[in-house]
Symmetry: D2
Subunit: 310 residues, 4 copies
């Protein structure tokens, strides 16, 4: 994550701001405000702004005139109750804004979450940086042989080398040609006065899907948790999971009670279907239950047994 001197200076200057406010503040989150938290090889997540804290969830649930909070333990209990019973609206009363640098193919998964505000760096208007995601060797995984949508073992030896070389070379070459077609260097200077230069909005199409883009992304806590429940999950693609895990840590700083409830009820939990619930009841009664007698497909049964650690 190579920030330029100018970028670092801008961040430092933002971090030096000190204002007085009547709003609620969260010192643990203020500590990392504006900082670029590294993700993947060139990416980052930066918390730019936030609204609310654990108490704001309680305040909204109680529609109170002041802070509306009672003892910390009671507040945490209410937050757990709201999370457990899917009373989601009080969590929407907290809002957070990130600045994220991420590869385009990750951005394409991310944007599918519609309940968020987004401002992306415009490649119609500006020239993209020469930065591409190249997986670290331990993330260069083979196609899974059991799951069409998953990864298997890590590639090794000659195959791994060849793959890395292709990814690097193709990204670089295509970027070189992007610059050539633009007829403009990254610093904005013209390369060949005899040429017109292809429109930026067209030239960008020559770039590879691992090129980095960046955006401001803002959402409320409920929708952020929903995003994280899907994207920090083991089934999510590693690259977006890497971002989710960093963001999950920011929620721990920001709203520790809500984070704990989320980890208990969403991330670490397991949803039993009606059939699975029936099977568990029978197992607890000492019966031997099979996929067949539970009326479940082999795959579903395996998922259940795995969750129950059997």
């Amino acid at each position: 994550m190579p920030l330029t001197k100018d970028q670092q200076a801008e961040i430092d200057s933002a971090r030096e701001q000190k204002h007085e406010t009547r709003r609620v503040t969260v010192p643990a989150l203020e500590e990392i405000l504006y900082k670029a938290l590294p993700v993947l090889d060139h990416g980052f997540v930066r918390v730019i702004d936030y609204m609310g804290d654990d108490a704001a969830i309680v305040q909204a649930a109680r529609v109170s005139y002041g802070r509306g909070t009672k003892k910390v333990r009671e507040d945490a209990g209410l937050i757990r109750y709201l999370m457990r019973h899917r009373h989601t609206t009080p969590f929407e009363m907290c809002e957070i804004k990130y600045h994220v640098k991420l590869p385009v193919f990750v951005a394409r998964q991310w944007i599918r979450h519609r309940t968020a505000n987004v401002n992306e760096y415009s490649a119609r208007y500006s020239i993209l940086d020469r930065e591409f995601y190249i997986p670290a060797p331990q993330h260069l995984a083979a196609q899974s042989t059991v799951n069409r949508q998953g990864r298997g073992d890590v590639l090794e030896g000659v195959e791994a080398e060849r793959v890395l070389a292709l990814l690097k070379d193709d990204a670089q070459r295509n970027y070189d040609h992007y610059v050539e077609m633009l007829n403009e260097r990254e610093d904005g200077s013209v390369i060949d006065e005899g040429k017109s230069g292809l429109a930026r909005e067209l030239a960008r199409m020559n770039l590879t899907l691992n090129v980095y883009t960046q955006w401001y992304w803002k959402t409320d806590l409920h929708n952020l948790f929903h995003f994280l429940s899907l994207r920090a999950d083991a089934h999510a693609q590693y690259e977006i999971r890497a971002y989710s895990e960093v963001m999950l840590e920011t929620t721990k700083r920001w709203v520790p009670a809500a984070h704990e409830a989320f980890m208990d009820y969403r991330m670490g939990g397991f949803a039993l279907s009606a059939k699975a619930l029936e099977a568990v009841k029978r197992m607890l009664a000492g019966e031997t239950v099979t996929a067949e007698s539970a009326g479940m497909s082999p795959r579903e049964w395996r998922e259940l047994m795995s969750a129950l650690g059997r």
Copy 2:
């Protein structure tokens, strides 16, 4: 807007908070933070929290690492450009949270704006206050005779008196019966030990639509402006317009440049249809144009002439 002592104390205590923050702050908005700004006879609007300022719009539009702002004049120019060309996403980067007390029939119009977060006081769970909206004499309007969805002259004399008496009596009587059915006083004490008391979720149905409710309502600046463009408009019902006007003033404190652009491009503007544009061109060329020759309906033509001050 009679706040109880406890409510006022909660508000005062919130206003006394002083925290240090690295986030952007808006002193003009901090001045009125938490204050109950009166609307109608018992309602209010309170700004509870906010995120961002004019510069945050610019920062998002530029996807910058720091504040991203240039000179104030350049920033205002960019904000005007974004507003004019309906580049709405940068305005979504500012967020505001209100606490609002409002009559139920106003709440029913308000809630139709879906892109917002809402936590309403629950009459399934709690007992509503004995407060109803009774129009001031100057707002007791007759049905419009030209617009099925509008108001005409103000009612006067005996008719006005009778209407006010009916509104007051019915609201009070129905509230008395609400309390009787609940078998519970507003302070929570039981009225008649020999009775069970009707469930709150049922008893509330006896209340009139002018009873006051309250909610936390949070939205982003783009959606707030959209709300205000419809609800601060002359065609909106007076009662919701009263709220919109107070909120419009809060945006003036919060994001003065965006507010100015909004007033110029949305509130004070007029959208010409293709036919109207053609008519204006012809008029500018000195032609005499009529509804017929413009291909417009009489109603549309009147609207255009009125906008052009003819």
Copy 3:
């Protein structure tokens, strides 16, 4: 649910339509199309239009050129997989439109579901019908003594009679006064030529919250299921549950495979938290587990034990 002759004639005429279409059709749903399915004392649910069927879910999941379906059993298996793993987007490819008549206090709960399209009958523009929801005796429940947001036993004897009398009288009287203030009969004729009549948008505020309104409500299958999972649930207020149950039946006709998966994975299931999952594992291993040793609150523990039928 007293439909007028005109209304019934309009419905009958719509039902007589026969058109040829290349779109997919669902005969079991066509059977009840436009019919008013009664709910509560004066309400109804009518299916007005629909788009897609079970196969459309499969088609979208496969992004296929044609129907994209394989054997019925394979399709049902894929639908179960999508439901289980919360791949929600293919369910959004089915859409349904209802016409609903419902009391205002139910409408206020309903509208909180934002991802839907709504057109409500306008009481600014038109005069509402003289129809109110009065609970049947078996639904006249006392306030729950254990749950602040629930119902206890059914009211009986004198208290029940008194409550019913109050609800009926207040609704009728307030409606009488509504008409008087409007100075206009339900048929539109003027009552007293010497009066102006209060604006409709104001007069409506005298009505009680159990007055019936109506709307067109359109949503996609994913959001409909989400609505039903909350509103057909045992914790929902009876009155909105009554609507949800009728709508649930319409989904059974419309998309039987998706309906079955929904009943198994959502309605009949139970979400184990991380702690509950751990407790179940220990119980399956023969351990005796208590709320304390599971680290769960008494209330949470009771909910778990109840789900496990212990």
Copy 4:
């Protein structure tokens, strides 16, 4: 737009369906149902399903029991009124579903419109086709010299040839390498038994942004019009405009009255700001107005003068 035989057969078979329905149908739209309408070099738009017609807008606006329509002329008048006064909800009662094949960089612009349902072909799960967008010579535009976000003249001669060669070669080479890394041919057969093959979710990142993807995209008429007002506009990038224009034609078949109102009030209209409105009034009064005396920036003034044809 080269459909395979199988794809064409699937489409033909879908088109041969004939079902009887009680729902409203639109014969002019049924005519083209399922057909692949070509866009760009390999893309298409296909209408897959629809709900409602012009009369459904009227029906929802009137919340009627039957069709709710009166004379065609009255209905069209009401639709114009709704469009003019931005009463948008009745337009949401019509829904349409498309199957679209489009380059990834166009998909990235398109997806920014959030109020729609989307199912995209998954390159985590499947192998993408060897198809890339290569601009036709007349669309190979230079960067605009006056608008940082626009196109200037068409490239010619050697520069054009070079650009086209680069675009073609890079896309092909990167696709070749994609296949090599996957170690799997497009027909699914393994290339080299001694290799594992890179995971699909990783290999795809080597593709260029002009590779074609496809999705099912479903939205309501109001949001479709909003999309078209931005994307069929002259300021939109040509490539997405090409799709918008084809979709605009489908709305003309589907809802001719709404389409006409949309063309008049949105596509062909011009929004006057408060300042512009004032300037027009003064010009109509015979005054000579300048940018300065109107209080407008030179750019804004040029835009106004251009709209007024001066």
